[in-house]
Amino acid sequence: MRRLAQALVVIVIVSMLVFILMRVVPGDPLYVYLGDDISFLTAKDIEAVRHELGLDKSLAMQYVDWMQDMLHGDFGYSIRRTRRAVMDMITERVPVTFHLGLLAFLISFIGIPMGVVAAVKRAKWWDTIVTVAANIGIAMPSFWLGILLMYAVGLKLKLLPLYGYTSPFIDFSMSTRQIIMPVFVLASTGIAASARQTRSAMLEVIHQDYTRTAWSKGLRERTVVIRHVLKNGLLPVITLKGMTFRNLLGGSVLVETVFNIPGMGRLAAEAVIAKDYLVVQAVILLIAVAVVLGNLLTDLVQGWLDPRIRFQ
C-alpha cells in the first residue's frame, strides 16, 4: 500500500513538472492553435480564443482543470491545426509501441545467458566475444544501426521490408518481416547492457565465500552457477531491466523515425517541437505510469529473488 501511495505521489509530481515545463518553454501555444493565417483576427478575437482554450486562467487553475479532465478520461484535443483528440492519437500508437517494445524487452533477456557464459568462461575467447559485442552494442547509436540494417538487409540484399508497420492481426507475415529490423535495433542496446551487467554481477558473486563453499561441497557447475551465483547476481540486472520497462509505452523516437513506425516516441517528439502541450503532458504521464509500474514489478521480482528484501 505504501508503495502504491508513493507511486501515486510520483505520478502527480511528474504531471506538475511536465505541465510547468511546457508552459515555461518559449513560444505561446495560442499561436500554434491559431496558425499563421490570422491576419483577419483582431486582438479581441485572439483573446477570445485564449479564453476558450482556458489559457487566460492561472497556471494552477489550468493544471486543476487538466487533471480533472484526465481523471474523466478526457485528454483534450491537439492544439495543432489537425485538432485530433489526444486519446485517439495515443490509442492508435500505444499498441504499436507496446508490440515492438515488448518483443525488444523479451529478446533483450538473451543478454543474461550471454553474460553468464562470459563470466563463467572469463578470459577465454567466449568472454572476449561477448564483451566486445556488448561494448559495440552499447556504443553504437541506434539510428545508425537502423540505417545500416535498412541499407544492407533491406535495400541491397532485399531480405526484409525497409520500413513500415503492419498490425499482426491484419497480416502476421508482413508484420513479422517488418518488425525484425526495428526490434533488433531496439533490443541490441538492452542485450548489450544486460550481458555486461550480468557478467559484472556474476564475477562479483563468483568470488564470494558461499560460492566457494558450494564448489567445495562438490555441487555440479550448473547448480553452482544457476542456483547460487546467478540468482544472487541477478539483482542489479533486474533493476536495469526495470528501468527499460518504460520503453514499452514510451517508444524510441529514433527507431520509429528511421523505420517509419507510427509509435509513441515520434508522437512525443513531434508534440514537443510543435509545443502541443496537451499531447506532451498525456504522453509523459503515460510514461511516468510505465516507469512506476516498472519499478513496482522490479521490486516484486527482487523480493522473490531475495527473501531479505521481501522482509524489508
Binding site: G35, S39, F40, L41, T82, M150, L155, Y163, G164, K275
Partner: protein, 536 residues
Amino acid sequence: MKKSPFVLSAGMIVAGLLLAGCAKPSEQPTATPTTPAGSPVPTRTATPTPRASPAGLQPEYGGILKISMDKPSDPIGAPWQHRAGTVTGTAPALEYLYRIGAKGEIVPWLATKWEFAPDYKWVTYQLRRGIKFHDGTSLNAQTVKWNLERIWKAKRNGTETWTSIDVVDDFTLRVNLSSYDWTMHTISAEYYVVSQTWYEKMGEQAASWHPIGTGPFKFVSYKDDVAIDYQRFDGYWGQKPYLDGIKGLYFADPTTEAAALQSGTVHIIFPNEKYANDLRTLGYRVEETGYSSTVLFPDSANAGSVYADQKVREAVEYAIDKEAIVKTLMYGFGRAIYQPVAHPDFFGYNTAIAGRKYDPAKAKQLLAQAGYPNGLKTKLNSYDRADRKIDAAIQDYLRRAGIEVQIDVNTWTKHTEIRRTGYTGLFLMAGGQEGGDVISNWNRHLSWTKPGMGHVSTKRPAEWDSLFQKLLVTYDEKTQSEIGKRMSMVAYETVWAIPFYASAYLNAQIAGVHDYREEGKYWWDSGRVWLEKKLH
C-alpha cells in the same frame, strides 16, 4: 401526311438534346475581354491545357501510384479549418472553383466563368454542370454557397470584403462585396469544395477526416503518420484518370524516404537538395516544380537599428555570395535571387533589375560610409530546418565583411511568433511559394495587409505599401503586371527586405512514372499521372 415533318423535326430536336446531355462537358474557351460600358467585367481565364501523352508513349491504365507526402497539418476534409495553400495530400480527391497559374492567369475548374460587377460590388460564379461528389450528390450553387459560408464564418484570409452570398440559380451563385480585393481569389483557388450532404450526415469531427470531393480519386482511408489511400472515381467529370489508385506515404526521415524510392516501394518522393543530388547521381529523374523564396528581413523599424540605414542593408546583400551558396550548399538546385520574385516566368519579375552581386569590397565600403568602418555586430534569427548550414554560410560571409553575426535558432512555432511580436537583427524567412497566386502569397509573406501581423520589426517603404494596396484592387492583367514589376523595382531600390535564395520544390521519380506535373502549372492534377505496366 402533314404530321410527318413535324414529328420528324420534334424527333431531331429531342435526339439533339439527348446527344448534348450525354456529351462530355467542354472546357470553357478563352475569351478576349472587351467591356462595353455597364456590362459585368468579363472573366479572366486561361485555356486549360488538354492532357497530352509524352512523345512516343501511350498512357497506360492501371496501377497504384505510391507517392511520398507531407503529413497533413490541417484536417483533410474541412477546408475552412486549413491555411490557404495547395494541400497536395488531398489534391486527388478535392478540387477548387478555379486555379491560378504562375503569371496570375486563372484556369477554370469547378467554376467555368465568373463576372464582376462594373463597380466590383459582386461577383457571380457559374458552375460546371454534371459534376458529382464521391457520395453521389451533385455539385450545385447551394453546396458551393454552404462551403463558402463556412470559410467566411471562419474568417479566412480573403473573405474580409464579403457581405453576403446568394444563390441565383442551380449553377450560379453571387458573392456580394463591400469592395474588390485580389485576395478573395485565394478562396476560390486555394479552398476546395466538399460535399455538404456528407458533412451534415457524418458530423464535423468524422467528416474532417473523411473528405468527399469531386476529384478524380475518392478517399478510402487515412492513418496518422502512415498513409492516405485513394481509389479511382469512375464518375469523375473530367478525363478519366489513368491510375487505379494513389497511396500517399508519410516519411519522418529523408534517408528512409530516399531508400524507399531506390527500393521501388515508392514511385515519387520530395527530397531535400542533398538527397536529390544523390539520387540524380544514381540516375533518378529529379524535377524542379516551383520555388520558395527566402528573404532576410532587417529590423529597420526598431529604434537605433543599424538597418535603418540603407547602406547597411545593401552591404549585407553585397557581402553574401548567393550563387556560391546555391551551387554548393544547395547542390545547384534553386536560384540566387536579387528581387522578390524568383523566376523570370513568374508574376512581378522585373528584367530591368540587375541585382547586387557578390562584392565584399563594396560591402565594406558601404559599411564605412554608413559609419561602421570597423564593422558591427548583429543577430541572425533563424529556425530549425534541414538546410541550417546556410546560416553558417551567412555568418561566415558577413564576418569577412566585418559584420559579426550571432545565430539564434528557434523552433518554427517560436520563429513565426517573433515575426509578429518583434525581433532584433536579421530575420530569415521563407517567403512562400513562387508561381501560382503570387499576389496572395506576397500578402501573406511580405506585406500582410493588417497592421501588426507581418514582420513588425521591418519597415516597409510607403511606395511599396501604396502599390500593394493598388495591386489588390486591380483586376486588369496588364496593369497588375506593371504594378508587380514596379514593386519588384521598389524592393530592389530600397532594399527593405534582402532577397536571398529561392529553394526549389524537388521531386524524384523512378523510371516508368509519367506526367506527374504539367509544365508551368503549380498544382498537382492527379488525373494526369500514369505508370508504365512494369510498375503496376
